[in-house]
């Protein structure tokens, strides 16, 4: 029986594939139909929640690419259940929402195709137990998100931003791939469930540092940690449902997910190791930077993007702090964030859709015309601000609990968290409350707004409502989602949770910090116009210093270098190519000849026949004439001399067949040359003297090396040649007395067969060239 894990995946991918057809058949209503797929998957996951809560995990495995240790192994444990619920649950509403938001869009079918494929990849990513399978889905999310971010692909900036996201995450993925393979090599396993039990083996390995850095390369790029954060706000180029989905529960959380997944394997036993500090420091930096930049944003979507960035920073930082409270805070924050961030993005999308702008400096007082949307936005913003009794409050409270438990220099993280939360609240109000309250100025808007259709408000309403309900009655969530997830991240069971409000609302330091946060957040919100006033100037000044500028510079440098290199190498001049190739050959030959010099060379110089000496000298002179003369007659004559000289040498050294063939070929070559010689340009020397000298030196060195090589070869014989046997077999077995001919037509007839094919094809080629020339000529004369 196929496990329900496979079914849940298959349903989503199936929906993806049929989406274009469904859209063609149902039009805008397709969303409702397609949402059934993630909903079904969600239902399946919920049904398994009690099993997981009891501490069990579900496993499914089939062999796949076992030669490379990739198997289709899925495993549902607390962490993957949590993520899977978020992905499918929020995904359901996103699919519905899309139907309203992209109403009438001609490419709606394609959009669903990408979106559902993305969702499927994300579900697969969180369910994978095999490392390689996880990577497959990881890259799946990269490529589908590339298509989604670049969905408005006729705009250049969209294409550019999609590429940026792909390159940054792709670069990280390559690092991660190396890290994952190293993990596999160290632990001998490609299963998360086994790797996580072998933390000590990993840490004892000399490659531990490399592994941590490589894995973090993947996670940080995917989850947009400093200094790779810049692609995330740019990913807003995609349609709003994409942003809502990518930023709330999916793409960017993949990095967080993987860090959490590998936390048991890579975190140090007592804490305070490389893994922890990397996470905590980069997470904190990300948070601070995101909050700082977020202050100056005016586009509601950008504001939300920076808060996402901030949350990613917090989550990373919490994982790095790694205490029990911190992990708890992380899980709760993760859930809370998914709910309110999806809501807020959809709300802003609705506002954009209805009012025609996302500029928060223009949007005001929309609550009257868009009451439900406004309510959802308000609830979400309050949850995000951490106001009790919303779920966001619980998360924040836990953060402070974790923070006050720190000591020494680590307390800095508490400060960072405080500042971050404070600004985050201000931003939450700015995006989720600002547009709906205050005095309406509908005339300033590009469109006359009214309430969004059902498809577009149902999602925000439900999700925002859940943020409140979870805050009030967190029991189901705590036992079925939070506890198992924490257990999975920590690699051990946990003691008590204290998620209920009455456990948390006690007059202590964390509560005080919460109160201060709220006050500070309101202050930020009230002063928002001050930041906007200076926004353009500040951002313009920061930009050249930022990571994106570095990216741009790197990108341009790569292109520049590629052009530089290619122009240098691929000059278009055959002369350069030949020179380079021959020079390399000379270098290789010289290295080989003089490193592995054979036995000493001996010659009886005196024994030469003067006839041969004469022929050789004449040939050398002729060769030089052939090279240097500028008269065709002289060149042809010189070539003839060389050719006939070769024939004479053949004849002299006992090769009559060769001599005759050479003579005939030489004659025919001259004949063929005669046919075209009239059409050829006069010979002239074009190169500069210096070039000629350089070429002459190279050519001479090459020739000299060939001479040395040949002399060496003649002097070295490992064993006597097979031709002695051939000669002995020639007459008795092959019935021929001319051994050379017997070799050609019998012993090595296959060579000859190839050879006659060559000449036949050459003839066809000559005819083809000539006739194409004649056709061209005829065309020209017309």
């Amino acid at each position: 029986m196929p496990s329900f894990l496979v079914i849940s995946l298959a349903v989503i991918f199936l929906a993806s594939v049929i989406a274009p057809m469904v859209v063609r058949a149902l039009g805008d209503r397709a969303g409702w139909f397609l949402a059934a797929a993630p909903l079904a998957a969600f239902g399946l996951f919920v049904s398994q929640a009690p099993v997981i809560a009891s501490g069990a995990s579900l496993v499914y495995e089939v062999d796949w690419f076992s030669a490379l240790e990739a198997s289709f192994a899925l495993r549902l444990d607390g962490l993957s259940l949590l993520m899977a619920l978020l992905v499918t649950g929020i995904g359901t509403f996103i699919v519905i929402y899309t139907g309203g938001y992209m109403h009438g869009h001609p490419q709606l079918g394609r959009f669903y195709l990408y979106l559902l494929a993305f969702m499927g990849s994300m579900v697969g990513l969180v369910l994978s137990d095999n490392v390689i399978l996880m990577f497959v889905f990881w890259e799946g999310t990269s490529i589908t998100s590339y298509l989604l971010i670049g969905f408005n692909h006729e705009e250049k900036s969209s294409r550019w931003k999609a590429l940026q996201a792909l390159l940054v995450t792709g670069l990280g993925a390559m690092a991660m791939l190396a890290g994952l393979i190293l993990i596999g090599m160290v632990t001998g396993s490609y299963r998360f469930s086994e790797i996580n039990g072998m933390g000590d083996v990993l840490q004892a390995s000399p490659w531990y540092t490399a592994i941590v850095l490589l894995i973090l390369g993947g996670c940080f790029t995917k989850s947009a940690q400093v200094p790779f954060h810049f692609w995330l706000p740019n990913a807003m180029a995609g349609p709003t449902p994409v942003s809502a989905f990518l930023h709330s529960a999916t793409m960017v959380k993949a990095g967080i997910f993987l860090m959490a997944r590998l936390n048991p394997a890579l975190s140090s036993v007592g804490g305070g190791g490389l893994w922890e500090y990397m996470l905590a420091i980069f997470g904190g930096l990300t948070l601070l930077l995101a909050m700082f930049l977020g202050l100056f944003q005016k586009d509601a979507k950008s504001i939300l993007a920076y808060t996402t960035l901030g949350v990613l920073g917090i989550l990373t930082m919490l994982l790095g702090i790694g205490t029990e409270y911190a992990i708890k805070a992380m899980v709760v924050f993760l859930i809370g964030h998914a709910l309110y961030k999806a809501t807020l993005f959809m709300v802003i999308g609705s506002v954009d859709h209805e009012a025609g702008t996302r500029d928060v400096t223009l949007l005001r007082g929309l609550r009257k015309v868009m009451p439900i949307t406004a309510l959802a936005g308000l609830l979400a913003a309050l949850s995000m601000s951490g106001i009790p009794p919303f779920f966001g409050f619980i998360g924040k409270e836990l953060i402070y609990k974790a923070g006050v438990g720190l000591a020494g220099p680590d307390l800095i993280f508490l400060v960072v968290a405080f500042v971050g939360n404070l600004v985050m609240m201000g931003l939450a109000l700015k995006a989720g409350v600002g547009p709906f309250f205050g005095k309406a100025d509908l005339a300033a808007l590009p469109k006359k707004p009214h309430e969004a259709p059902l498809a577009m408000w149902i999602g925000p309403a439900v999700l925002a409502g859940l943020g409140l309900i979870f805050g009030l009655v967190p029991f189901w969530v705590s036992t079925h989602m939070v506890e198992p997830a924490i257990a999975a991240i920590q690699g051990s069971t946990i003691h008590s949770l204290e998620l209920a409000l009455w456990d948390l609302v006690k007059p202590n330091l964390p509560l005080l910090l919460s109160a201060l946060t709220v006050a500070g957040g309101c202050l930020v919100f009230i002063n928002r116009r001050r930041f906007w006033a200076v926004a353009d100037g500040v951002l313009a000044r920061i930009r050249p210093l930022g990571a994106e500028a570095v990216y741009d510079r790197l990108f341009n440098a790569t292109i520049w270098f590629s052009k530089f290199q290619t122009i240098r190498l691929q000059t278009g001049r055959l002369h350069d190519y030949v020179f380079f190739i021959v020079a390399t050959a000379v270098a290789f030959l010289a290295w080989a000849l003089f490193s592995f010099w054979g036995q000493p060379v001996s010659f009886a110089w005196a024994s030469y026949d003067p006839l041969i000496i004469g022929i050789v000298i004449i040939m050398i002179v002729a060769a030089v004439v052939a090279v240097s003369s500028r008269s065709y007659i002289k060149v042809l004559a010189a070539l003839g001399v060389v050719g006939f000289g070769v024939a004479l040498l053949f004849a002299y050294f006992g090769a009559p067949d060769l001599a005759i063939t050479q003579l005939l070929v030489e004659t025919l070559t001259v004949v063929l040359f005669m046919f075209v010689v009239l059409r050829l340009p006069p010979l002239k020397s074009i190169s500069k003297t210096r070039t000629r000298l350089r070429d002459a030196i190279l050519a001479s060195v090459f020739g000299a090396l060939i001479t040395v090589l040949l002399i060496q070869a003649v002097n070295i014989q490992f064993k006597s040649p097979i031709s002695e046997q051939l000669a002995a077999m020639s007459y008795p077995e092959a019935k021929g007395k001319n051994v050379v001919n017997v070799i050609l037509v019998d012993f090595r007839a296959l060579d000859t067969m190839g050879e006659i094919v060559v000449v036949a094809v050459a003839a066809l080629g000559i005819a083809a060239l000539v006739s194409s020339g004649l056709i061209k000529r005829k065309e020209a004369s017309k």
Binding site: G572, V642, G643, T669, L680, V740, V758, V759, G765
Partner: protein, 115 residues
């Protein structure tokens, strides 16, 4: 005798290579012809040379009387000569046509395809 022939081979390789490095495209053909001669002689020589003893079985014998010139390189060279002839003829036609099509015999004018 091999030493002397080796020098000749070297000269043929050198002059042939030098021709291949020239810009006038007709020189390419000359270069290929020269360097082919060099390569043929090289193969012919590499097994050792023996004056005037072709590998022919006498009419009254069954094996060629030793010593005889190694017949296998001769067969290789024969194959190479014929192949070389075919290629040279083709190259000649190609150079002629290329000269007509580009209207210049300077190989440096032939750079529209790779830059």
């Amino acid at each position: 005798m091999e030493g002397l022939i080796a020098v000749l081979v070297g000269v043929l390789f050198a002059t042939g290579t030098y021709c291949l490095l020239r810009r006038s495209i007709v020189k390419l053909v000359i270069g290929v012809i020269l360097i082919s001669h060099g390569a043929n002689l090289l193969v012919f020589t590499s097994g050792g040379l023996l004056a005037g003893r072709p590998a022919l079985v006498p009419s009254d014998g069954t094996v060629p009387p030793a010593p005889f010139g190694d017949p296998l390189p001769q067969a290789m060279v024969l194959t190479a000569i014929v192949i070389g002839f075919g290629l040279t003829a083709f190259l000649l036609a190609l150079v002629t046509r290329a000269y007509e099509a580009v209207g210049d015999d300077d190989i440096n004018a032939f750079r529209n395809t790779d830059t």
